[in-house]
Symmetry: C2
Subunit: 414 residues, 2 copies
């Protein structure tokens, strides 16, 4: 039996098992959610008034969110308690509200809304499909820049931003990027914050969705973007976003936005036009739950890592075993976040996803990690190993490896 | 002692008591919130999966909200379960998202976003300050139309809408209007729905905030706006909004938007760009709480009415006793909602509010019920009797009556 026959046979074996595996979306596992079950009972009829005397049942409480919750979550975005505002259940909704306001009215310091300036946003590739969808549907033209191991390709960003005043900002994931797992380096962060921009109101929209989602015990601290901006005298240039979606529950959490106090004043006024204030009940649940959690937020994230790390380790183990030194693919080895990014050597990503689907494994659709849904090189595959149990991750990765071998062979024979 | 001296003395007596009373905002009382305390404990570690098998902790569940919650809340907007979508904690935020989308991309059937069409919205006066703030800050020019006992002055609306294609819609409260308490009549509802509009995408944004907030036991049903629109063949013309802010808690509730199924398809796609879905935990709490409440939603609203009606009755009692047949003011006698609207005969509203403030009673600032914060006739005062206990409502209304007498006398003597 030739190697190719062996791969064919392995693939048919997988198909014959009528599997139903899913590595499509970056969802926590039930075991992750179970860690936060006490949050459901954290607030009851005995404790609905906060330390500061706010009754969470009534309107007053402010557009920024509860003080106690801001003091708790500012750590997650590496900002101070006066540099954070809270939102409803997810960061995506906050980012949507900020971007729409920027289009209609501008950011802090804009002379007008961006909508009539043919606005463009730089996005990183491979990147997050929901960023692309949101920005594109709101009317931004997306300019793709490669995500490197040090963050967005700064040579390219500097060139683009300096020459095109229509480029109003960059929208990316600074820590454990979706899907590559790369974190922006200190040097790149400083270059980005200090970038010479043709647009006077160029803004860095940093979706720091995985800022505390480490897989390792003693993580290297990521660059402090707001501090760098303050030091550079451009404190208003960066806005950080985050949420509790992968801290507690992926619905029913708290959205976070971190920024300078000057920006807090601007954006709280902006957000006040369309809100009396975000859900305080959910904020207070989070405060009471995390106060009681051993080690607080850090302790909870360490428990998450204990569940997630074996799955990421298994991805590396199977890929190294099956594809190592075969020159069929390269892949990232993230130290945090929710994804692994794999690039096939041949332009066969869509065929791999198709073969996997036929074998009962759902992967993220090819092209989802690119702005227009098309991977120009047809090489990138996003792997999302967080939700399935580790046994299924192993099986799924064996299928992925098999499909890569098969599709590579197919490509060679045509 | 002359009448005027007696009023002066009464006013000085009020002042000497160092009172601190508040009838400024339409907030529920603690007794209202207490009715819903069990909602805090409705969901726990034993019941976080819905009847339809959705785990409220994870992402999936859809942009429309939980099916069980839609089946429950469609009654509140008088629409079917397939004609409602849910949002996060308040209707204001949903209205903000719908209006911003309309500006950037248009409504269902628009050829483009409204932002470049110098868009105008009709608002009713006296009306709700947060409607004015939101629409104005987003860039709409506001066109004020008088709120009558039958709803928006339809003669005026018909004239405006027919001739001005920049008028993109009307934004008002159809049931127990803020602040007059008026409900649109069937005849006016039919005229509004069928209005001949120069703008092909003219839209009725109906903030039905008080649709189930009756003060009487057997309320007269309000016109069914969506049904009228469907019957008229313009089902997409009306969008209804509501929330649970004055049903359960004023923070931590569920926003509601009711519309045709065709609009549901359009708006769920629009909202999907900026959200994976609204907070399911809060929705599920509402479902489990209201299922167990005696009489369900209707039963709960009847308990609210038992708390609120004596306060509204007291407002009428004091105003009739102190101001009846004196030709100093007229006022509404709402059958539901959260406010009473009073018009002084003389242009003295701002002076009344000032005098009341000096006597320790905070009233809604004069002009708040008008689009630009200025009451052109200086006659309208919004009374919000829901939050204080009935004894304080009585005292507050005596102060209001006294201040009206005093300010009227001042006006006559200058």
């Amino acid at each position: 039996m030739t190697d190719h026959d062996a791969v064919q046979k392995q693939y048919q074996d997988f198909k014959s098992r009528n599997l139903s595996l899913n590595m499509e979306r970056g969802q926590p596992a039930d075991a992750n959610f179970d860690l936060s079950l006490p949050i459901l009972s954290a607030v009851d009829a005995s404790n609905y008034t906060t330390d500061n005397g706010v009754d969470i049942r009534n309107y007053p409480g402010g557009i920024l969110g509860l003080r106690e919750a801001r003091e708790l979550f500012c750590e997650q975005l590496n900002v101070g308690p006066d540099e954070i505002m809270l939102g409803n259940n997810a960061s995506l909704e906050m980012m949507s509200r900020f971007l729409t306001w920027a289009l209609l009215r501008g950011v802090n310091g804009s002379s007008q809304g961006w909508v009539n300036e043919s606005p463009k946003l730089i996005v990183t590739v491979p990147g997050y499909d929901r960023h692309f969808l949101l920005a594109r549907e709101l009317g931004f033209e997306l300019v793709a820049v490669k995500m490197t191991g040090n963050g967005p390709d700064m040579n390219e960003v500097e060139k683009l931003v300096a020459s095109d005043a229509a480029i109003k900002g960059i929208y990316f994931v600074p820590t454990y990027s979706n899907p590559t797992g790369d974190t922006i380096s200190q040097a790149y962060a400083e270059r980005l914050i200090n970038v010479k921009a043709a647009a006077g109101d160029f803004t860095i929209f940093a979706d720091d969705a995985y800022s505390v989602h480490h897989l390792q015990a003693n993580p290297t601290p990521a660059p402090n973007l707001l501090q760098i901006a303050k030091d550079a005298g451009v404190a208003n240039r960066v806005i950080l976003f985050g949420s509790t979606s992968k801290v507690t529950f992926a619905s029913g959490g708290v959205g976070l936005a971190g920024m300078s106090t000057d920006n807090i004043a601007y954006w709280s006024k902006a957000m006040s036009t369309g809100s009396i204030g975000p859900n305080k009940a959910e904020q207070w649940r989070h405060v009471l739950f995390l106060r009681n959690y051993p080690g607080g937020l850090t302790g909870l994230m360490q428990e998450h890592a204990k569940i997630l790390k074996p799955k990421f380790d298994k991805v590396q183990e199977v890929l190294n075993r099956e594809l190592g030194n075969h020159n069929l693919a390269t892949w990232t080895d993230p130290k945090g976040g929710y994804f692994v990014s794999l690039d096939t050597v041949q332009p066969i990503a869509s065929r791999v996803v198709e073969l996997a689907k036929d074998a009962g494994l759902a992967l993220t659709p090819t092209g989802a990690t690119f702005p227009n849904g098309t991977d120009p090189e047809n090489r990138n595959i996003r792997l999302a190993p967080t939700r399935p149990p580790v046994e299924e991750v192993e099986l799924a990765m064996e299928i992925v490896a098999c499909c890569i071998k098969l599709a590579t062979a197919e490509a060679a024979s045509t």
